[in-house]
Each structure stands twice: as structure tokens, then as C-alpha cells.
């Protein structure tokens, strides 16, 4: 297949899956078979594209034109490639896990669940491969809309309210802030195509750049920079595979990916660092990192604690971009991949605990590690990665960010990263400790459950292994990240 056909294939495989899944709604095995086939096909396609990108090519495909110079167009650059790679490989694992979870909990409306999931993946690929701001925005909105039914999947009052917050906040920020920012970029820069070095480089004065940057950062609500973070905890009412998808693969990563992409290709690192009006971003991101970590400390609900941890980890990526040195941007990029695999492990573990024992609170987990050693082992690996300790992937991103900040003397950023590491340890390690070394409570001890269904355990083990492997062999992500900043 030619490169452009590969791009189309990568977009259409999940779409076709979404079309065929309802046809097979009467036969669950066939339905899940379609999902899994699609995941494998997608990964193969993405890997072929990866081959091309690593060879230095940038495959392109241009579709219909909306306005003169504004088209539905795709172009794969290294950052997008990395994001697509992460998303497509984790989709396989997540699908496997979903099958176990949905069957294990006898969830209703499984067909529409898989349909929306496939559409969400298609739009994630669309975001990753977008050539211009319009295409990015299009798939960004489709992602919001296709995940809304997933958040409200349980159709309880709480789920509907959570969905409402989710939809209004994400659509609201994107419409009121992001879209005007895109239009302003188009009017000022004359193009919406991502340009190495920045669309706005040399076209606007410092203050305009600073204001526009703010509109972008807060407009990309998916990046969950405070104060627009509270959709994330609200969305925790969703089934766990959805939380895993939202918090590790698709939605939040689409947010930070867009932030990095905007900083690198719309403003340009060089332009922003000399503009003199971008320094505030370090403080906003740093504040988000610290506040979210402190809030996470106080959460007893395991998924809520993970959600706030995500808010804080996402702002690492924003912080990495805000430090505005090539090496810190590399760190931010690596952290996208690292956080994806480790956070998905953590959510998988949470879901697996829920499926096996129906426990949701941290305080109930005493001694559970003995009954679910695989699950809690994976959880421990994920937690280490969140804290940023070797030998896990989380260490890499932090290391690059730290060196970027230190090399330019941004001691605030250095301090934030240090402090948050301590906080991360403070809210993750007690969970691990309690699970393995505390004796089970009287009530929980009577529950004689073992591990969750095997697809779930297999999935979370795989991601835990990946977390370690990524630390040992960061070749591909590192190459891609370096290619992006041109090192």
C-alpha cells in the first residue's frame, strides 16, 4: 500500500469495526472477534507507517477542502506517529481487558460500548495524524462526542450528571476558546497547517502570542490544566475500561498531545521562549501538578485518586512543553508514552479489583495483594512509574524535563518536579504497602475471591511489562521525540 493509503486505512479500520459491530450484536463472540481483528489490523498498519516515519518520510493525504486553504488533511510527523503508536497498541490490550470486564460484570448495552470505543479510537488516530488545526479540531470534537455515551454508559443519575459535566466542559472550552484561537491563528498566520518552527513565528507580537497561548492552553480542556480539570473526576463514573481509555490512551493524551503540538508547531519553541509572555505557563502547570497531587492524597476512592493523579501527571507534559527547551519537549513527549502505559496499568488493576471483589475504596484494600498477586504486582510497577523511579518508564520523561529545566535555570520547574515526586510517593506507596503487608480486615477476609478473569490479568500484566520494557529500550519513542525537535 502507498503511504496515503496506509493513512486512510488506519482511519477506516476502526470505522469499519464500528459499522460491523452492530451487525454482529446477536453473536457476542463474533462481535468481540471483529473488535480484536480491527485492533490487530490497526496496529499492523500503524507499524508500517512507523517504518516510513523512522526512515525520515512524512506520509501525507489531503481530502476535501472546507474553505480555501483549509482542508481535511493528514500528515504524519514524529510526535503524531508516537501518539498513534501508543494509542493503537494500547487499544489491543484495552480491548482484551474490556471483554473480560464487560462479561465479568454483566454490563448492559455492550454493543454500543464497542461501537463508541471504535469511533473514539478512529478519532484519536485522526488527531494524531492531523496536518492542520482544522483536522485536529474536527477529530478532537468527535472524540468528545463519541466518548460521551461511554461516560454515561451506566445510565444512572450519577452517570448522567457526570456525562453532563464532561460534555459541557470539554465542548465548552473547545468551542469558546479553542475554536476562536484556531480562527485567530488562521487569520493572523494565513494558514492552519502545522509548520515546523511555528505558524505564528514572526507574525505576531509578544503579548498577542501570550494571550493566544493562554486561550489555546485553557481551550484544550482535555489537557485538564486547572481550573478546567474537574471533568476528569466527574468522568470516573464510567466503567473502568473507559476510564483506562480516557485517562491513559485517548482523551487526555489527545489533550496534552494537542498542547505539545500547538507549542511546537503553531508557536514554535524558539518564538515562544523569546516572546517574554509565555513564562506564566510554568506556574500554571506547576500549580496544577502540586494542587492535584495534594487533592489526590485525600481521595479514598481508588479511581478518583487515580484521576487526580492523572490531572497532575498531565500537567507534567504541559510543564515540559512550557519549559521551552528542546530537551524538555523531548521529555514531555516521552512522558506521554510513559504515562499512557503506566496509568493504563493502574486503571486495569483498579478495574480488576472491582471485578473480583467489588471494592472501590483505598481503605478497603488491606491485604488484597495476597489474593491478587498479579494485579497488585502490576499496580506496584505502575505506581513506581508514576513516582518516576527506575526501572520504569516514568523515570525517563522526568529526567529529560529536569535536565531541560536545570540547563536553562528554571528552578521553579525543578522544584515542582521534585516536590511532586514526593507527593506521588505519598499517595501511591501506602496503597501498595497496605495491599501486600497489612493483614486483611475481618470483613474482607471472609470474601474468598481470587484473581479477576484471565483476559484482564493478561492485559494488565502486559502493560506492566511494557512499562519496564519502555525504560530499558526507549529507542523508538526517543528517536521520534528527537526527530520532532530536530536534534
Amino acid at each position: 500500500m502507498t503511504p496515503s493509503e496506509l493513512i486512510i486505512a488506519a482511519l477506516l479500520i476502526p470505522v469499519f469495526a464500528a459499522i460491523f459491530i452492530p451487525l454482529a450484536s446477536a453473536a457476542p463472540n463474533l462481535r468481540e472477534g471483529i473488535t480484536l481483528t480491527a485492533t490487530v489490523l490497526l496496529l499492523v498498519t500503524v507499524l508500517q507507517l512507523l517504518q516510513l516515519v523512522l526512515n525520515g518520510e512524512q506520509p501525507e493525504w489531503t481530502g476535501l477542502e472546507i474553505a480555501p486553504g483549509l482542508a481535511l488533511a493528514f500528515k504524519i510527523e514524529p510526535l503524531g506517529m508516537l501518539f498513534a503508536l501508543v494509542a493503537s497498541s494500547l487499544w489491543i490490550v484495552n480491548s482484551l481487558y474490556s471483554i473480560g470486564y464487560m462479561r465479568g460484570n454483566n454490563e448492559p448495552r455492550q454493543t454500543s460500548f464497542y461501537i463508541c470505543f471504535a469511533i473514539a479510537i478512529a478519532s484519536t488516530i485522526g488527531i494524531a495524524f492531523a496536518k492542520n488545526l482544522f483536522t485536529l479540531f474536527l477529530f478532537y470534537e468527535i472524540l468528545t462526542l463519541s466518548t460521551y455515551p461511554l461516560v454515561t454508559h451506566k445510565a444512572t443519575e450519577e452517570a448522567i450528571n457526570g456525562g453532563r459535566v464532561y460534555l459541557l466542559l470539554l465542548l465548552g472550552t473547545s468551542m469558546v476558546l479553542l475554536l476562536p484561537a484556531i480562527i485567530a491563528t488562521w487569520v493572523i498566520g494565513g494558514t492552519a497547517d502545522f509548520t515546523p518552527g511555528g505558524i505564528l513565528a514572526g507574525k505576531a507580537d509578544g503579548l498577542t502570542l501570550g494571550v493566544l497561548l493562554a486561550v489555546y492552553i485553557f481551550g484544550i480542556g482535555k489537557a485538564a490544566v486547572m481550573p478546567f480539570h474537574f471533568w476528569l473526576p466527574a468522568a470516573m463514573v464510567a466503567p473502568t475500561p473507559v476510564s483506562a481509555l480516557l485517562h491513559a490512551v485517548a482523551v487526555v493524551k489527545a489533550g496534552v498531545f494537542s498542547v505539545v503540538k500547538v507549542v511546537v508547531y503553531v508557536f514554535g519553541i524558539e518564538t515562544l521562549s523569546t516572546s517574554g509572555h509565555a513564562g506564566w505557563l510554568v506556574y500554571v502547570a506547576g500549580a496544577t501538578v502540586l494542587i492535584a497531587s495534594i487533592v489526590a492524597l485525600r481521595q479514598d476512592n481508588l479511581k478518583k485518586r487515580l484521576a487526580y493523579s492523572t490531572v497532575s501527571q498531565l500537567s507534567y507534559v504541559v510543564l515540559g512543553a512550557a519549559i521551552l527547551t528542546p530537551i524538555s519537549v523531548v521529555g514531555a513527549t516521552l512522558h506521554i508514552a510513559a504515562h499512557a502505559v503506566s496509568k493504563i496499568t493502574l486503571f486495569f488493576a483498579a478495574g480488576s479489583i472491582y471485578t473480583a471483589s467489588h471494592l472501590t475504596e483505598v481503605s478497603q484494600l488491606n491485604g488484597i495483594g495476597r489474593r491478587m498477586p498479579w494485579t497488585m504486582g502490576a499496580f506496584a510497577v505502575g505506581a513506581l512509574s508514576m513516582i518516576g523511579l527506575p526501572p520504569t518508564a516514568g523515570f525517563l520523561g522526568k529526567w529529560y524535563m529536569l535536565s531541560g529545566a536545570a540547563s536553562t535555570g528554571q528552578w521553579v520547574a525543578v522544584g515542582v518536579i521534585m516536590a511532586s515526586t514526593v507527593l506521588n510517593a505519598a499517595y501511591f506507596l501506602p496503597v501498595v504497602y497496605a495491599a501486600f503487608w497489612r493483614p486483611p480486615d475481618g470483613e474482607a477476609a471472609e470474601h474468598n475471591h481470587g484473581e479477576a478473569p484471565w483476559p484482564m490479568v493478561a492485559a494488565l500484566t502486559a502493560t506492566a511489562v511494557a512499562t519496564v520494557v519502555l525504560f530499558l529500550m526507549p529507542g523508538v519513542p526517543l528517536t521520534l521525540a528527537n526527530m520532532m525537535v530536530g536534534r
Binding site: 474553505a67 474536527l138 470534537e141 455515551p149 454515561t152 448522567i160 468551542m175 485567530a184 487569520v187
Partner: protein
Amino acid sequence: MSSSQLPALQVVLPLLGAVICAFLRRGTLAWGVALCVTWTMPVIALSMLWQVLATGPISYAMGGWAPPWGIEYRVDMLSGFVLFLVSGVAAVIIPFARKSIATEIDSTRQAWFYTMYLLSLCGLLGITITGDAFNVFVFLEISSLSTYVMIALGRDRRALLAAYQYLIVGTIGATFYVLGVGILYSLTGSLNMVDISSRLGELGFQPPVLAAVAFLFVGISLKLALFPLHSWLPGAYAYAPSFATAFLAASATKVAVYLLVRYFFSVFSVSQIFEGLPVSEILIVLSVAGMIGASLVAVFQEDVKRMLAYSSVAQIGYMTLGIGLANKQGLTGGIVHLFNHAITKAALFLAVGAIVYRMKTCKIDDFAGLGRRMPLTMGVFVLAGLSIIGTPGTAGFVSKWFLAVGALEEGWWWLVAIVMVSSLISVVYIGRVIEIAWFREAKPIADNAREPPASMLLPMLFLAGCVVYFGFATSMSAGYASKAAAHLLGAEQAIEVPAAAGTKQ
């Protein structure tokens, strides 16, 4: 008859069809006539549009009396576009009418309804095609009178009240329009729009022109339901038969918007309207008030038709905003929104019509559980709703894009923010329906709800397809609209360059 007769046929055929329907007693037969006539309309409109693109404006002298003395039918870029829009939407939705009308109107009155529908179509196409200012009034009244009857045919007794109120307001509007035309006539001695325009150019600015502009502006604004003058619209849309609502929402206000554009840009000139007078400011303020105010009111409606009616008032604000911006991008946005909103609202009202067909109600609370009982119908509703919101990938986004670019070109970033806030409010009211339709338990009233028959489903699906298609393939909608906008603005600037220099600042 050769192809040169097309402009007359565009108006005469619906009139003839209406006469035939009036002789008929059976609703189905009348529907057949209406179907034949309506399906010829877009063919005629399209072939004229083609001719306009190839050889320039078409002029047709009624009765053989040469313009400017006789009545001239004139098809140019803009009127060709609107003709195609109105006739095209009518052609798409007419198959829906048979079953819907059969359940909503007594069998003795169905043929009467189709008579009125065809008369209304005749009037609307007539307003668009004629180049004679007084002839516009006649067609305006033909379409309005038949519309009042269509609304009054609704089942609910409040339909009568709505029709009466529309009659009062509509007549005042039409009379204001005639007043304006009368003043123009006594100033220039001509009723032909092209002729008036050139004579006004020679006259220069005189105080009576101001009066004419004011009367025409208010009169047409009443017809297009510009924000504070919109009071007739919600009742009329809510209680008219579903098919009539879909037809009116897609055509009547759009034709009025066309008329406003025609007067501001063709009869008067940009310099007279937008530089000499504060029309631009008034239009923008009213549009913005409508976009925000009517959207907020829509949020609190209990009846879906009424909610969509208020949403229409808000959406009309987008169109008038485009006119008020009066630069190329903005005007393109206004004109393309004319097109996009017509197909979007038609799809929405058809979906609601299908639900009324099955459920006999359109209260929001009764929508509970319909998402699973009527997935295709509600799917159309969601898709068209997204276009109202202006999500990328739907037609509504395209028009919003052009409007925002137009506003930014003037440096009015706050206007962009208001446009976006207004679409955010539409998320609330569209989302409310969707949430209830999917996540609430169905009521007993919905026990028999299932997908409507194919004759109702296909038009809806086709329109929904259009909503997505025109969200991506914009060369036809936006491309054409921008040509028309350039034509409207360009033609004026050629005339008024010296005058503009004096009035500016």
C-alpha cells in the same frame, strides 16, 4: 416552450398545481400533484443556475412588457442560489408529507392543505425570482396568506391563535414593506429593482431614502423574525402541522433574509446602508441579542417544536450577523448559513414530525427512551443537532467558521466569543433532548413507538446526509456563497467609490 420560459415556469407551475389541488377532493391525489410539481422545481432552478453561471443573469419580461416598465423576472447568482435552496428542500421533504399530513389533518382538508402548500411555494419562489419591488409584495402576501392557513390547519386550537398573531404581525410587516416601496417609487418613479438602484445612485442621498430604508428594514425584519420582532415565530412553528413547520423553517425565513440582502446590497448600495447609516451596528446588536436571548429561552422550553423554533430565531441571528458584517467573509458566512441552516432545520423538524407521527406529542419528557425505540430518527436529530451546535464535520461549522473569520477581520474578537457562547447554549438545549431520549426510561406512551415508514425516513436520512456532506464538501455551498457575496459587494463598490470616500469617517 423553450428553456427561455424557465423563469415563468418556476412560478406558474406551483400556481397551476395549487389550482388543480383545489379541484381535487382526495388528499392523496393532491399530494401526487404536489409531488410532481415540487420535484420539477429544483430541475428548473438548477438549469437556470447553470445558465447564470455560464452566461450571466437571466432576465424575463412578464407579458412581453420590457423592463423597467413591465414586471421583470431576474435570476442572478444570489436569487438562483436561493431558488435552488427553497425548491430543493421542498423537493426532498415532500414525500414526507403524505403520511404525516394524513395523520395530522382531517381527510376533508388535506387537499386544501396541499393547495396552500403549493401557493406558499409559488409565493416564496416568486419573491426570490421577481425583480419588481411591488411584485415582491404580491408574492409576499400570497405566501403569507397561504402560510396562515397552513398554520391554522394544525390540530391544536392554539394553532388558530398562532395563525391569527402571525397574520397581524405579517400584515404589518408587509404593509411596512409596501410603504418603503412607495417612498422609493415616489423618489425614483420606478419599481424595477435594478432601475431603482441606478436612479438612487444618480439622486444621491436624500432624507426620504432614510425613511424608505427604515420601513423596508422593519418590514422585512418582521418577516424574517429578527430578534425583537420574532414573537410570531415560536407559536407558528409549534402548532402548525409538522410538515408545514419543516417547510416553513427551511424556506420562509430564508427567503426573507434573501430579500434583506437583496435590498441592502443590490437596491441600495453598501455605502448608503453601511457607511452612511448605523444599519450595521443595529443589525449586529440585534443579531447578537437574538443569538444569546433566543437560545437561552430555548433552553427552558418544554415542547421540542417550540424549542427548535427559538433555536431558529437564534440561528437567524447568525445570518443577519453575516449581513451586518458586510465584508466578504462575513457575508459569505451569512449566505452559506442560509443554506446550511435550511437543511439542518428541515432535518430536525422532520425528525420531530416523525416522532409526532408515532407518539402524537412532542413534549420533551415524552422523548424518554426514544433513542432506542427510534434510533434512526433520533440519530438524524443528533446529527442535525450537532450542526446547530456547529460541531466540525457538519454544515453548521462551515458557516460559523466564515462568520468568525469575518468578525476577526474587522478586529471584533468579542463577537467571535459571543458566537461561540451562543453555540455553547445550543449544546445545552440539544443535549437535554438527547440525554432524555437515551438515558431516561421510556414512558408507557412510547410503547408503540418504532421507526416511521420509509417515505418519512428517507427524506430525513437524505437531509442528514446533506448536513454531513456540506460539512466537508463546501465547494457547492460555501464556494457558491462566496461568489455571490463577492458579486454583491463587488457590484456595489464599482458604483459607489466616490460617495464612499465622502461618507467614511
